[in-house]
Symmetry: C2
Subunit: 312 residues, 2 copies
Amino acid sequence: MITVSRALNTPDKLAPATLARVRAAIERLRYVPNLTAGSLASNRSRIVAAIVPTIANSIFSDTIDGLAQTLAQHRYQLLLGQTHYRLDEEAALVDAFLGRRVDGMVLTGIAHARGVRSRLQRAGIPVVETWDLTARPIDMVVGFSNRAAGEAAARYLIARGYRSLAYVGGTDDRSMARLTGFREGAAVCCVRDVAAALVPAPSSPSDGAAALAGLLAQHPLRAVFCSNDMLAAGALFECARRHISVPSQMAVMGFADLPIAAGIEPALTSVAVRAKEMGQRAGELLLQRIAGDTSAQRRVDLGFAVIERASA
Amino acid sequence: MITVSRALNTPDKLAPATLARVRAAIERLRYVPNLTAGSLASNRSRIVAAIVPTIANSIFSDTIDGLAQTLAQHRYQLLLGQTHYRLDEEAALVDAFLGRRVDGMVLTGIAHARGVRSRLQRAGIPVVETWDLTARPIDMVVGFSNRAAGEAAARYLIARGYRSLAYVGGTDDRSMARLTGFREGAAVCCVRDVAAALVPAPSSPSDGAAALAGLLAQHPLRAVFCSNDMLAAGALFECARRHISVPSQMAVMGFADLPIAAGIEPALTSVAVRAKEMGQRAGELLLQRIAGDTSAQRRVDLGFAVIERASA
DNA sequence: CAGTACGATGGTAGCGCTAACACTTGATGG
DNA sequence: CCATCAAGTGTTAGCGCTACCATCGTACTG
């Protein structure tokens, strides 16, 4: 009965009495509507897919959280996939999600396997890339410039008089972009030869400690910029173990401004990014486009901010 | 054409030549199979839903990760929902996911809103509750006893000579169960009057530091058991700021054995639980039951282990 | 060589819903 | 008093697959 469909989807188009009768019947029969059939008939699934490298890292789970909240408000659901930092897994997930006829997709980063871009564009669904920026998004992009963030970190450290710099980070594209920016920022200030230690994902405090230990064995070092706050926390712990005073003997700077940055002793100077807002904005852009509004921005730069604390 | 369906779902039932022809056609036409239609026709969605309080907390994201991995191996997808520790939100998500005709569901905890149990049972899909244990699961349960974990923490601390104990934790059921166990364990050893500071979710190191500060203002304290390692880390930082030596003046014990526990200085004694394995086992049980095997265990106790490190 | 079995392939119906349109009713206005 | 209209409700077709059964050819058995 079409009336039941209307009672569930557009209750305001029914006479109150009819609506009440339908609702009573639904209750009595314990009727559970089949959204799969609805999706097939209407060609709208009310599902959005999100693909992240990993959710074990709280850096992305904040974005997922923001996205999920926005979607939930509009009765959309979230299908989640993890790539473990592998482009081929991302491509496989994209195909699987397109098969599900999701109404939109959120990707992490702007680098994708061959063919992903064209398949998404052919599917005709809105797509948001996140956690980076590009002039040529698949469809839309919400993020910040990793390169600029790295550069800002270098400038910050050099402005405070640190000259012997090092970078500790992951091997993914975004971390590498931050390293590039960090080196560029240093070069502008005539600081060359920035050492870098790359650690495999997912990165933990222990990795940060080990990376710092490795760097210290090779270079005289006054400041280290870590690609995320967990690595930076590990660097701080390593300094504590070696009785290296922070920041007077060693400056430590983190990235992402996770809750631990403000809590740790000494408090961690970090580059804050708006992870949760990224998810929210991505969700809003998708919903806007799903609703047929094509006026949405294609490129949203949420920026970043160096948060000065005690460690650098 | 039914042959195409077979090429995609049961390729080994086709003659190799036919399979190759179909695959070539799929490639040429850029055909993207519609899994929604398949779900409707076959009454199997190849989707499993997971509901967690929050993924911002890495404690649950490890479980999700394990679940997602198991599901991905069998070409199942994961629909994710967050309750923000609210039972009514959980109930709403359960209804929405049942409407999607998911093939199975993973819940967090064993306390649910009225009607959730019966609606799930009537749906006839396999359900796994996690992160706790009960003799009367909705369907299956994979977890550990939070009460016993709390008790073990109390016994551990008391065995090391600490008598003035306090607990810092969240207000959710599982944290409260650990507190109950902690108090019971203390009582067995004739230690009564265990102070407790409850912090709202999601808990961060700052919350842990503030809670410890609050407790210290009221009680003489020798040991604190924190409901997760982030709170414990905050407690350690607070001790560092106050120049309270750990563990000689204050013992700190955490829960979950997150990566930070091993990395922090001093290294954190913690109660380890097998979060990722919980997700994997939950996924395996679901898939087993979806495949029609009804012999699966209804109750899997993954246990926990006190990991002794420097802080207590 | 007929009878049987089995693997490979195809035809048809229908999963449960919604888009599109048709219809009914009562109100409005010239 | 009837044309016009809007609000409320119903009818029909079909979304793209898969379950089920039918058919066909080939190989094997006695």
